[in-house]
Symmetry: D2
């Protein structure tokens, strides 16, 4: 155990009336919701990057956090790992997620970086064994270093494509070794800053081929986790190819990958794309590609990726409602891709932020389950479409045949109330 968090004991569930800032008021891992333990529903993961690698910078200012492991040596990396696993333990989060560059120092060469990674993977494996923590997913950071400035798989320079392929190979190996349940690709710079210097068609083809190689390699090494793409519409790029769930679906269909790859949906990215979080989840379910979620919240008015901790129960409840309607997580889970505000300097802030987020998710899950069990929303939805029960034939005929029927029967449909406010009131009984 490191000294970073002092003597803070593991966070306990104390119930809604507790005013202990270091207690759960709603997240009670063993509580059963719809026949499953809450922990098994939510499958919380803590992310390595925002908590341990991010220094508090923003576009107008540099590091605000003062962490003892910011030095960049292997020793720093090990201290960071100690603190991280301390935090996983204190929070009782069963999973974590990482990028290669979060956990290992950059080496002088690709080979050296790989060796650093392998050494850290060994350490992580040992810590997992000691603590019972698990890896929800691994991924490669192919956007921070200047070599990626013009993209990774979509870079105009084939050597960058190669470097990206080699990097993903090492990260998939690491994920396999750590028993990760998924492998995620976020195309941070797969997109463009200006169309003027971009060959859209060629870049899309390269990205399609790259992803096929990822799937081929997964099978080759026997990785049984799911491959996930994380959509985002823009930032850092002006346009990112994995814009949203619908765009990723079209991409997967184009390159024959719709049965192999699913999506990791982030609340903030959904909002930046002009969608609600629940829309993206519902659409992924409808298209058969729902995988996992990055839980956070985005300021609706800020226009950039704010990655705040979730704090709005009604919104979170609607997200879990769509997840539960779709059958819940299989390999996926709830990863907090959320970061402290850069003014929240204290170690305790890291814990408090996650405690708040976990409680909000627990409330959201319980509200979603209660709405499903109540059944009023689903009854109303089914009733609205009930007319189709006797009219499936309309889907199996032709425009002119339908035309004849409309004329001969004098069909003149009359609108019925959509009852949106009544349904919203039902939701508000539970959130």
């Amino acid at each position: 155990m490191s000294a970073f968090f002092g003597d803070i004991a593991p966070i306990q569930y104390e119930g809604p009336d507790s005013d202990n800032p270091l207690a759960f008021r709603h997240y009670n891992p063993d509580e059963v919701v719809m026949g499953k333990r809450m922990e098994d529903h939510l499958r919380f993961a803590v992310c390595y990057w925002h908590n341990f690698a991010w220094e508090g910078g923003d576009p107008f200012g540099g590091r605000t956090f003062d962490r003892p492991w910011f030095g960049g040596t292997m020793e720093d990396a090990r201290l960071k790992a100690d603190v991280a696993f301390d935090m996983f333990r204190i929070l009782g989060a069963p999973y974590y997620c990482f990028h290669d560059v979060d956990m290992r120092p950059e080496g002088d060469s690709f080979a050296q970086s790989t060796r650093n990674l392998e050494a850290m993977v060994d350490l992580f494996a040992q810590k997992q064994a000691e603590t019972g923590r698990k890896l929800l997913w691994g991924t490669a950071n192919m956007f921070s270093d200047r070599r990626w400035m013009s993209g990774a798989a979509t870079n105009p320079d084939p050597h960058v494509f190669a470097y990206a392929a080699a990097t993903v190979k090492t990260c998939m190996d690491a994920t396999l070794k750590l028993g990760g349940e998924n492998y995620v690709l976020w195309g941070g710079r797969e997109g463009y800053e200006t169309l003027l210097n971009t060959d859209l068609s060629q870049e899309l083809d390269h990205m399609g081929r790259f992803l096929n190689m990822v799937v081929e390699y997964k099978h080759k090494i026997g990785f049984e986790g799911m491959i996930l793409i994380e959509p985002k519409p823009q930032e850092p790029s002006k346009h990112q190819y994995d814009y949203d769930v619908a765009t990723v679906y079209g991409f997967l269909k184009r390159y024959g990958l719709e049965d192999e790859v699913r999506v990791n949906i982030e609340q903030g990215h959904a909002i930046l794309a002009g969608h609600s979080f629940e829309h993206e989840i519902a659409l992924a379910n409808a298209l058969g590609i729902f995988g996992s979620i990055d839980m956070n919240r985005n300021d609706y008015q800020s226009g950039w990726d704010t990655d705040q901790f979730p704090n709005n129960v009604p919104e979170v409840a609607l997200a879990y409602y769509e997840i539960l309607r779709g059958g819940g997580f299989t390999t996926g889970g709830t990863n907090f891709d959320a970061k402290l505000r850069r003014q929240s300097l204290d170690p305790e802030d890291l814990l408090i932020a996650h405690i708040g987020g976990m409680d909000v998710c627990a409330r959201g899950l319980k509200a979603a389950a209660a709405m499903l069990e109540d059944g009023k929303l689903e009854d109303a939805r089914r009733a609205r479409y009930a007319g189709w029960d006797g009219e499936q034939g309309l889907l199996d005929t032709s425009l002119d045949a339908i035309f004849e029927r409309v004329v001969s029967e004098g069909i003149d449909p009359q609108p019925r109330s959509g009852r949106q406010e009544a349904l919203e009131n039902i939701v508000n009984r539970y959130v």
Copy 2:
């Protein structure tokens, strides 16, 4: 000839120095650009709805325009047609576009509305023959009447689905009879206002089946034009299924229609979806589904569909640049889906707005052609990707093989300038 426009003579090209507000300064139909007449490049169409059916209302106010044909009788419809063909003639626009409800009064029944439509189609056919004007595309308005309030093909009521199918049948018949070169579907209310009452999966399937019926009917009647979908992300609905080009592509792939249906891209809709107009065109070209454009402009800061006349030459030039790079229009064209500001009350305003728009498009086209002929932009683009010429093998191998190569060769790619500002300066030589 009607009296509406008084004695205004057909608009002539007078060159850039003219200060006659009723003359073209840049649009010169017979001028040859890249080996083709400007008129044949641009294929201008005037829309029936904004010019002749819209009354000047907005969400906070009603009719501002005072047009003699606003009465709603067949006589009004014929007067409207007289004025419309007058305007086509004065402007020298070769094409027009229509919805059924723009051209015919609503009847007491579907059958009566259809008879009204047929009568007007006969009149339009006669006017086309007399004036040489042509139909770029026809479409059905399935969003204004209250029967469509919850969607057309995606309505929870199967009778509305039937009414929609019958309506499209009549509009496709009308389009065929008038020699239309395309048939467009804009799903104004194919989407949802709230997910709470929506069965996303069922609605998408119905929409897929509906579109397949459209394609089947097209072949049955021998319509040789193109079927086009017009993407829009939202408004009037909270979410519209045909969100943007990428979304429509995924939809077409899902329902096996990618070889039968293309897109009609609107500048304003592109912007509402978070894209530049040229992005949407370039993407449609990359995906093989580019069809036609609705030319207008959207206030970037208004958040709703402003449908203004284009007036920014640099933006329009980039749009035509992508169109020309893709080979130019085939069945498509430049339809002005643009409306007067509601304070622009005078008949002359209708002409002036189109003259301005046509001149802006002509400037944009000429600039685009000059940039292509100059070749500097395409040279720079090719040079940026030139490294791939000898590295196609990277696309035909595996992650681990590439990994071996990166390690053994010590590949360490160095970034090169993307030269965005230099390329923007080249564009500014022409716009």
Copy 3:
């Protein structure tokens, strides 16, 4: 009593566990919160326009509602009033608000319209006396008729300015007669569509003079209510002069009105201006111009004024928190400037929407009161600024004197955690 709502009885408080859609679960008028009855805190008002005058149209479709009073005669107006007061009674809302054009038919002349208004005011006065309902505020609709298309007080045509002045006079008279507690001005078209035809300076001066005349007339007739301006940044205009609270404050200062006029803040308008609702309230309190609120919600992603019923308790709680911190309403109240979705066709939907909204506000108020009474948030805020207690002298000196002190004392301030997540968690204990 009209037949419109059938035999629905007045809505009763049944407590949180009720699943009766026609009962309050949280709004309990006589319940005491922070020493005051809930009804006296919230001061709910039902608006006349959205509920009784709006027909369900949007930019892409016309009337969806089917109301028996949509005919436009005085008889229709009286039926509408019967239904309205029925609804006020059923909901138990103590207040209502109106525009002139909501309550009276347009006449053939200004004089006739005024007589229609006066007749309806007499009827309303009688209904108020019979039912105990009161007028929170009156206002003039100076944006719907085409005469206002280019503004009212800021119209380039002085006759429109005159018409506006005369109209406001009649509406202030009506408000006085009905015992209104405020008079509101929303400058729906006080702004511009294009700067190119606008004399910004002259229009601002006219608007300033107009508002001074309003204040002068208020004193002349002995109206003791408050004059309120309702900020909105845009829509219907491209730019509206009363953009937000800060802009209105500057305007009031410029024209010497900061002690005479306050603001009526709408949630949706705040959001369209890029602000949170609580920001606008807090700022108005800081500037001494807080008056009243228009409660609704705006879809953050729609970009236009959606005027939905509030349904997010955490957001509403933060708004009431700022209202309570500022001392609560004096002449102001909570007016539901919210409308049904246009697919919500049934009379019952009108009630259900308001019941939901009133419950959400009640929850928000109770949460806000609990947070204030708990005191943790205010304690933390005070503690954050506590350093100033001994340093007020810094505000009463000069840059060079401070410079000397910084150098001589070697002042080197160290950042302290802003604890945002901890504070958000505290809020989440109550919402």
Copy 4:
């Protein structure tokens, strides 16, 4: 001369037909426009921060630029200054602008940082004398260092307020010594991240007092330049107090500073606040507080401050049109607060970006001047308001007197066309 730019000679005007990327095609300093040299109209300044201090980072990646002066020593600072003055000379820009931290290394203490600044100011003064370059304005960076994370003048810690006051004192001294024509305050972190920990009222008062101290110190030291505030609505903060021109005006009025302080308006900040650039300029002129501009462009769809070089002539022309209508710059000028895209790595890119920007401004200025000289726009504007010539009495009476007149004269104003499209077409003759 440094070696950074190699042997690039000063940029010359070669006229519109030149295809030399290192020549001006439109900016011709000595060309006379409306009776004044173009250089004297535009008063171009090159900024120190983006060009010489920014390393190419964004929220998802670090340094991309490779500059020999990035080390942080005084020697680096001097090399940077050599390159900067080289660039000013090559571009022929008469002015530059700086923050303290751009030009000097951070010291171990405030006193040391001040000495570093003074040393660099001496060097800059010498370089100004040698090269004839001048300082348009100086400013203090009070947002990058972690000490400013919670604000400068509005910090809850009085020692930060003191540090800010001392810092501004040194920067005003530096600006005076270098003959700066203005001193600018941009409140990068004057605002809040969350209202929950913010005392809005106290922070505004502190900011008001701080600005008064700035004005007092200006007079004390005999600085004859203008004090300017630069509005920005958000980023890095969630909300910034100097939101836009209208907000700053209200602030100045509140603290009695409207005759002492003006605004430096940035295109990108205007857009982030929901305004066009020309709106902010026109409003500042109407309110009497126009000072200077930061020229750049913001991607309308990116939602954050993109600080790109201007490249849209029609937009730039409308900005200069409002500047010329207001009489042109006095102490202000055109500062390029624009930065290379982070992929534009080469020294030449710095020059090319500025050449493009300067040419775009020159075209904008010439177009604006031509529109003013043509007079059609101003004639139309005057004609639109001409009715007021005989109706000034309406502004000098009362609501009830006007009411009597409307009734007795039967005033019934009829709308007239606003002719927006016709005016836009006139603009398009010149851009």
